[in-house]
């Protein structure tokens, strides 16, 4: 595993271009006293939709979650043909043994985004650790793992639709405590700003229309609090297992959507809770041959909001009067949306350097939508099969087939997607978490 060769000019130049503002003396050990590791994860994906199905699962999306300019192709999957996928530039530095700093820039061919930028303490006593900055929440299992660590090309539906396109990724503070017990027992709480679309969507105050105030109001952060516990008994050299339980409460959940003549506004709260488990079997052979990994997560989310729509025009799209005045209030109601999602996946190393895996997912087994007269759309399902080949440790090539069985208002429709992923880790990439 160990230090991967970044010392070559090519990656050094790339890194320097990508973070032009940062004075880099030398690519690896930058300054005295600061131990800096740089790595670059490059990814390419070929995507082919073999059969078109419903675009999004019933009860989720439908224009609510992604109307605010955040649309660089993640949500609706990939473009037909070649995609740059999800590449990352990772900088990790140590400040003595006092704290670690991590900066992860995620980029595709259009955008660069700060995925994570945080400090983590290394020397608090009694098993306590603090993390501050922007980071991936430690709720659940896959949420805190980066895409090149995943066993499948794409994010599980439950993580994407109950949290967001990047999972639960927030700015805030995390405190954890590792118990001094024989079995690994980690407790943690996070105080987060609260902006994740699925559980803490925030719009802030919207301007009044013709004197009519909107129901949306400013709420200062932090607006989201989460808590989690992880437990992992020691099962000897061959087996390892970790169980997790997590929950969160957002004291503000807001939506606003422009319909043809009115804004639909939601203002309220949301909470979620979930369970996760991962099991790994180490066969003790070379290059992962005979190893097993099983992983599953379940999350349940409740959005509890007041709704009040306000007319912003008194003519419809054809120019005819609607019979209502600008500023009129409609559709005043309070309702709850209760939804959940689950996935289970298994990966087996069927030959040295070769892995094959299956994943089954369900979204909306509970799918009670309180909006309007209320509805209970059918659940949606997705099944994936993949094969991964690692010619050498830092490189993998993965082929995956997704069978989408999504419900929507008009019924079920089954789609079939094919993905081919090439992922390369260059440079001194840090050790992977369990």
């Amino acid at each position: 595993m160990s230090k991967r060769n970044l010392n070559h000019g090519g990656t050094g130049v790339l890194a320097a271009v990508a973070i032009a503002a940062m004075p880099l003396a030398s690519p690896v050990k930058a300054q005295e006293g600061v131990d800096l590791n740089i790595s670059l994860i490059l990814e390419g994906i070929y995507f082919n939709e073999l059969r078109e199905g419903n675009e999004s699962p019933a009860g989720f999306g439908g224009g609510h979650h992604h109307g605010d300019g955040h649309d660089h192709g993640h949500h609706h999957g990939f473009d037909e043909g070649f995609n740059l996928g999800h590449s990352e530039l990772v900088l990790e530095a140590k400040l003595g043994d006092f704290m670690d700093g991590t900066l992860i820039l995620g980029f595709d061919d259009h955008d660069v985004e700060v995925e994570e930028a945080y400090l983590r303490t290394r020397s608090l006593p009694a098993g306590f650790q603090l993390k501050v900055g922007k980071f991936l929440s430690d709720v659940g299992y896959i949420n805190s793992h980066h895409p090149h660590d995943w066993d499948f090309v794409d994010r599980p539906l439950v993580n994407e639709y109950l949290f967001g396109d990047h999972g639960l990724q927030e700015i805030g503070v995390q405190a954890t405590w590792l118990a001094p017990t024989q079995s690994y027992t980690l407790l943690g709480v996070e105080l987060l700003q609260g902006e994740t679309s699925g559980v803490a969507n925030y719009r802030g105050e919207q301007s009044a229309i013709n004197g009519t105030e909107r129901i949306l109001e400013d709420t200062e952060g932090p607006r989201l609090i989460t808590a989690f516990a992880k437990f992992a008994p020691d099962l000897g050299p061959d087996h390892a297992v970790q169980y997790g339980v997590s929950a969160g409460y957002a004291r503000r959940y807001q939506e606003t959507e422009a319909h043809s003549t009115r804004f639909e506004d939601w203002n309220g709260t949301a909470w979620f809770a979930g369970l996760d488990a991962v099991y790994k079997y180490d066969a003790g052979r070379s290059y992962g041959h005979g190893n097993w990994r099983l992983q599953g997560e379940y999350f349940y989310r409740v959005i509890d909001v007041d709704r009040r729509d306000v007319e912003f025009t008194d003519v419809d799209s054809d120019g005819n009067p609607t019979g209502r005045n600008i500023g009129d209030v409609r559709n005043v109601q309070s309702f709850k949306n209760k939804q959940d999602g689950v996935y289970l996946q298994g990966v087996y190393g069927f030959a040295p350097r070769w892995e094959a895996g299956l994943r089954a997912e369900a979204l909306g087994l509970t799918n009670e939508i309180g909006r309007g007269d209320g509805s209970s759309p059918d659940p949606s399902y997705r099944y994936a099969a993949m094969v991964t080949f690692r010619p050498i440790e830092p490189v993998f090539l993965r082929a995956q087939i997704n069978h989408n069985d999504y419900a929507d208002d008009h019924g079920r429709d089954r789609g079939l997607d094919f993905m081919l992923q090439l992922n390369v880790a260059l440079g001194a990439h840090g050790a992977h978490r369990f």
Binding site: S183, P237, E393, G430
Partner: protein, 299 residues
């Protein structure tokens, strides 16, 4: 007020136990590999309690940063690692998740064996390489009893810093262990006919050259960390045609490449253990040394 007094007494008890406990208890040692665990037992005697992370039948390069490892390191007074990049794929994650500043890098509770030794060059330093570079040198010195003897002394000094009242005890034990390691190494070397040659799977058997009259001729891996290719094996056979030798590989490494050399050169294959059992003491390691020597006809 009785409640207040009760709280004070309780607090005093907690403080007192926190004060006295570390002195009375044995040193909690976590060792990444069985060889280091063996050394900790040899030096620490009844003053240490040792937990070994890597099983003896696994490649220590490729382990998961398991939660159970973090739980062990969380409670450690002393963490022993080989260093030089051997555990780089997993130990940093274990350490960062263990939330135990006493064993942070650079602290007294963190013993990095490679820092106290001069290492052989690693073939990875001469490139081209693909993701497996040991820039500080070859980290597989666990099979070199002479370097283990040097380590015993360094480890005794470190344990002495953590338990000053037992410093002499540790030193005496380390001197004894070092002497036995050197004696056994010399005895085994004397029994082996000169210039025995071998091909290894990885550079993890190079240090046999340091104490036995043997020579490494090459590796089954074309590049460290990359499995044998047909082209590389054919070239090995071409280069070694007509010579006497043997093929060695760790039990956890695949034997297919070795089989190719056996068929074309008529060499014997020896699957060996690179580490003593996880609960081994000095005797277990001396026994393992004998097993290595036996491969070359010096058992």
């Amino acid at each position: 007020m009785p409640l207040k007094r009760y709280v004070i007494v309780l607090l005093a008890m907690v403080l007192a136990s926190a004060w006295t406990a570390p002195q009375a208890q044995p040193l909690e040692v976590v060792a990444t590999t069985p060889s280091l665990g063996m050394l900790a037992r040899a030096v620490g005697g009844d003053q240490v309690r040792v937990r070994v992370l890597a099983p003896d039948d696994r490649d220590p390069h490729y382990l998961d940063a398991r939660p159970s490892y973090m739980a062990a390191v969380r409670r450690a007074d002393l963490l022993l690692e080989m260093g030089a990049g051997l555990e780089e794929g997993w130990l940093p994650a274990v350490l960062s998740g263990a939330a135990n500043p006493a064993v942070n890098e650079g602290r007294r509770g963190h013993f990095r064996a490679s820092d106290t030794l001069s290492l052989r060059r690693s073939v990875t330093m001469d490139g081209p390489n693909v993701g497996h570079v040991h820039a500080e040198g070859n980290p597989h010195f666990n099979i070199d009893p002479l370097r283990m003897a040097v380590l015993a002394d360094a480890l005794a000094k470190r344990m002495g810093q953590l338990r000053t009242e037992k410093a002499d005890y540790f030193l005496a034990r380390s001197e004894d262990a070092a002497q036995r390691l050197r004696q056994h190494a010399r005895a085994l070397a004397d029994r082996i006919p000169a210039d025995r040659q071998f091909v290894a799977y990885h550079e993890d058997l190079d240090y046999l050259e340091e104490w036995l009259p043997v020579k490494v001729l090459g590796y089954l891996e074309p590049v460290p960390g990359v499995p044998p290719t047909a082209r590389h094996l054919r070239r090995l056979v071409r280069d070694l045609e007509g010579r006497e030798g043997r093929v060695l590989h760790a039990r956890y490494q695949p034997s297919r490449g070795a089989g190719f050399l056996q068929r074309h050169l008529g060499w014997d294959i020896h699957a060996v253990s690179l580490e003593p059992p996880v609960d081994a003491d000095l005797e277990g390691y001396l026994e393992l040394m004998s097993q290595w020597a036996a491969v070359f006809g010096g058992g």
